[in-house]
Each structure stands twice: as structure tokens, then as C-alpha cells.
Amino acid sequence: MAKMTLQELRALREQKRKEMKKRDLSDKTMQVVIGMGTCGIAAGAKDTLNAFIQELEEQQVSDVIVTQTGCMGLCYVEPTIEVIVPGMPNIIYGKVDPEVAKNIVRDHLMNKKMVSDHIFDRPAADIIDQGRK
């Protein structure tokens, strides 16, 4: 691949916009939040982020919001991520390596089926308290 210029990046974005089949997954936006604290990074959260981007691209889904946050307080099951899909409970998944990330895209985001082996409920109590302050 030759070194891209910003102009090429702009052109590619326009092209993708036209090409990308707008999948009617839901009327509201789905969101994946990846925990990127020291603990998440040490456990490979960067590879997890990468895997989400790659799998969503392969599945031609361009409108999932993928963001990052700091430590979610579940350092023992990192990498942790939160998945928010309208009409489904918000789920915290733990031990999300690139392979699990792919399953989450296919099952949870595309087929509305939770990946039950990796559900870790919600952020730890002290982190929730902190948010309420």
C-alpha cells in the first residue's frame, strides 16, 4: 500500500459512504465502549479495539460507535468492554480477546444474541459510586 495523503483519505471516505450498504440493524445507534486503563492496555485492549474495527469492516457495518474509556474497575477480567444496543440491556463483557470481539460483533451486534460466557454484568460498585458524585 502506498503512503496515503489526506486528500486520498477524504476521497476514500466519500467512496465508502456510497458503497456501504446501510444495514438496517436498528433505528438507534449501537455502541461499543472499550476499557483502556493501565489494566486494559496490559491485558491487550488495543488488540481488542483493532479486532472490533476489523470485524465491523468485514461485516460492512460502518455506523457502530466505537469509543474508549479508562479503567471500568474490573481489572481482573480485562480487557473489558461495554456493549449498548437499543432494546437490549447494557452488557459488560470481560476477557474480550480478539476472538471474543469477533463473536460479540456477529452475535450481539448483528443477531441480538448475547455472548453469555463473557458477561460480567456492570462496572464495579466503587466506579459506579464515582460516576454518581
Binding site: 502506498a2 496515503m4 471516505r13 488488540d47 474495527i53 460502518s62 479508562g70 466503587d126
Partner: protein, 188 residues
């Protein structure tokens, strides 16, 4: 402990973003034998007492994690630098910002591998919040030099947003294409 040098970099950039910085400048310079990284921000900074405490793994900024008594990012990096005969330096001024610089020899047996720079830059550039991030990356080998620059505001403007999966996939391609040129130079 982090597995790659890039993990340290991402951790330190995150410290800057969590310190309410509006501008963060990252330098990554590399040649055959060493890599040097600098992360400079204009965030909340630390007073001399806090700065000293930041090197202690059992210290974390109040409010960052209530009920938690560890902060491992900076101690991990300082330990790695000392283990590998590298350099670690941190300067900070309360209310003005912090600058962290480290140099690691790439041929020391205890130096972790460099890791995935493209993924690190992608993660740092797309971290949520209102801030400007400039990444200056260069590599030199046998008298030749290659470099590129990534600016968050410029990329956000070109892509329209920095959070949808479509934009992220394009940004990943873009950064990888920049990094490949340097890779060619360093690996002949």
C-alpha cells in the same frame, strides 16, 4: 507490566488526556538501536510532592479511582527504563502541564518489543473528548530519514468523525500506510 513499548506510550498519553489537557504533543523517534518517545501536555500538572508520588506504585491521583490505592503507569515505565539502561525523565508544573520522555535501547535483552504503533496511534487519536493531539513520528537508518505527522483535528475533519466504525477502519488504513514507509526504511 506492559508487554510492549507501545503499551507504555498509550498509557502515558492516557494520563495526559485524563489530566484535562487541551493539547498533547507526542514524539516517537527511532533508529536501529534505540527509540525515544516524548509525551507533552498542557493539563493540570503536578506540584513537586505529587510528582514525587507519581513514581510510587501505591499512589494514584485522588478521585481517579476512589477506594483504589495503586497507580502503575509511570512506575512501570520508570522500572523498564532503569532495567534496560534507558532514560526516563518527567517534568511537571502545577496548572501548566507535564512532559514525560523516555529512551529505550532496542538491543537490550530486557527491553520489551516495540509493539503495534499504528494501533497505539489509532487508539490515542480516537480517545473521546475535546483535545488536540499531534503525533510526530520519525525513523532514521543509514543516514536516511522518514517521518510523518498525524493531527487529530485534521483527521477528524477529513473523516467527519472519529468514532463510527467506518471512520475508524479508514483511519486504521491511513495510519498503517504511513507506518509502512518507515518500516521499509528500518528493515531495509
Amino acid at each position: 507490566m506492559h508487554r510492549t513499548i507501545c503499551d507504555f506510550l498509550l498509557d502515558i498519553i492516557q494520563n495526559s488526556l485524563e489530566a484535562d489537557s487541551s493539547t498533547v504533543i507526542v514524539h516517537v523517534q527511532q533508529d536501529e538501536s534505540r527509540c525515544e518517545m516524548t509525551v507533552a501536555d498542557d493539563g493540570c500538572g503536578m506540584d513537586p510532592g505529587e510528582l514525587k508520588a507519581a513514581g510510587n506504585p501505591f499512589y494514584t491521583r485522588e478521585g481517579k479511582h476512589s477506594h483504589r490505592k495503586v497507580g502503575l503507569g509511570i512506575p512501570f515505565l520508570a522500572q523498564t527504563a532503569s532495567m534496560t539502561d534507558g532514560i526516563f525523565d518527567i517534568q511537571s508544573k502545577k496548572d501548566f502541564g507535564t512532559s514525560v520522555r523516555w529512551v529505550l535501547p532496542l538491543d537490550h535483552m530486557d527491553t520489551p518489543p516495540l509493539g503495534d504503533l499504528s494501533g497505539t496511534f489509532l487508539s490515542a487519536l480516537t480517545y473521546p473528548g475535546e483535545f488536540e493531539l499531534t503525533i510526530l513520528r520519525s525513523a532514521s537508518s543509514k543516514g536516511r530519514q522518514e517521518s510523518y505527522e498525524l493531527q487529530r483535528s485534521e483527521l477528524a475533519e477529513a473523516l467527519g468523525d472519529l468514532e463510527s466504525s467506518g471512520s475508524l477502519a479508514l483511519l486504521r488504513k491511513y495510519i498503517t500506510s504511513q507506518e509502512q514507509e518507515l518500516h521499509k526504511l528500518l528493515n531495509g
